[in-house]
Amino acid sequence: MTDRREFDVLIIGAGPAGLAAACCAAEAGRRVGVVDDNPAAGGQIWRGEHDKPTQPAATTWFERLRNTKFEFLPGTRIVGHPAEGVLLADDDRTLIELKYDKLILATGARERFLPFPGWTLPGVTGAGGLQALVKSGISIAGRRVVVAGSGPLLMAVASYLRRAGAVVPLIAEQAPRGRVAKFAAGLLAHPGKLMEAARLKWELRGVKYLTDCWPVAAEGNDAVENVTLQRRGRSWQESCDFLACGFGLVPNIELPMLLGCEIEQGSVRVDDGQRTTVKDVYAVGEVTGIGGLAPALIEGQIAGLAAAGEKEAALRFLLFPRRNARRFAQKLEHTFRLRDELRQLPADETIVCRCEDVRFDQLTEHYSWRSAKLHTRCGMGPCQGRVCGAATEFLFGWGMDSVRPPLYPVRVEHLARATVTRESQSTED
């Protein structure tokens, strides 16, 4: 037996974009459901903020949510799309069929990891990854953490880790100095961002911020002990207990692709009203392009109102701020574009697909994601290419050409118990 739920507006992802959408649609009187893989709402940027918020925007929105009626389904993943207007979800106990009139995709983004020798050692984590782990209770006090990769997230992470007691000797940013300096000067046009940057700079006093610098190898026996960094032709070792390393963010487009939404340059294509190319399906926040908190909140509100039938209101008040927020996102993308040298990081024997232990030299003879998958099992493990797919996209220019259900691994006993609606399936076949 499969559980069934019905919603006027179903929202996938309980980060800022999804929560803003939920608020607006529920306040307009719609029956709203919000699904998230995590045990609590907030997404990554508001992780841990749901019960005792510390960030001003989180405080405001969680307060507003407390006065809003909607159903939250935590610890739940969307695994399939069996019929029009239906998604199939897995909550670790059973499969649930979720029916909707309008669907809002707020699936967010993940970090991009690039393979280099030693990157599979325990202790080498994502940058946002280590922050999430610390927020989940891992103790970092007194531990030495090198933060590396690219993007403004590195500074935010370093600052957070220091507050949690970590010793951060340096931040290695791959972007060139000139571009970062120009970006910093451009912050004058974004007073809010300027304040944020000034605060981070103050919090990070004593931490070296090295541009044109990236890790070329991690070393250690059972876990990372050293990282070799490279900068302007010079390389040296830094000792560390953790190497927190992320090379920007990648939109989570697997579910939008399964639904048939058009993808443009790696993110979901939407119009001014946040509509995707699929009828009654909206997309908001990072999945429509990496832009951070500000556009996510605005887009969530636009889609929430539009899905509730209040499109006029949405467009009138929110379009201008949305454009402004997106302009900032374009500057970010230009500044922190990954340099070509990073494609030389993997050695022949470096593992690229961590689930199936597929080496770099096994992949170089292939010229597509599909061919590599079929011959090497690259991307066929439990993460289903979420890590190595983003890496090989950068290393080889490969793209995912299709997505198939289940989107996440599902236990066989759950599948065996499921009785899934397939009414519109027969007309398509």
């Binding site: 893989d37 995590n38 045990p39 990554q44 610890g75 993940r110 970090e111 990891f113 599979t120 050692l121 325990p122 202790g123 080498v124 984590t125 994502g126 946002g128 990854g129 280590l130 922050q131 999430a132 782990l133 989940s136 209770g137 891992i138 103790s139 059972d222 876990a223 593992i351 961590r354 689930c355 199936e356 232990d357 493990g381 439990p382 993460c383 979420r386 890590v387 691994p409």
Partner: protein, 82 residues
Amino acid sequence: MPERITLSVNGCDVSVLAGSMVSAAVSAAGETAFRTSVQGEPRGPLCGMGICFECRVCIDGVRHVRACQRLCQPGMEVSTHD
């Protein structure tokens, strides 16, 4: 005083703050390897947000559970050995 809960990791009792994920308990038990890869390498958490599946462990007899997405419960039995 924040509430603490006790669970077992590889047979040893570990105490963590209520609200911690299993990843925190495994780490508090001094383990850096959460699983062993298909070629026998030790692996630990990478993404911290349920994407990479590198932190999967056995919880109360159920294998392949992502430690970073599961809240600790009193008396839980966690193993990193299979």
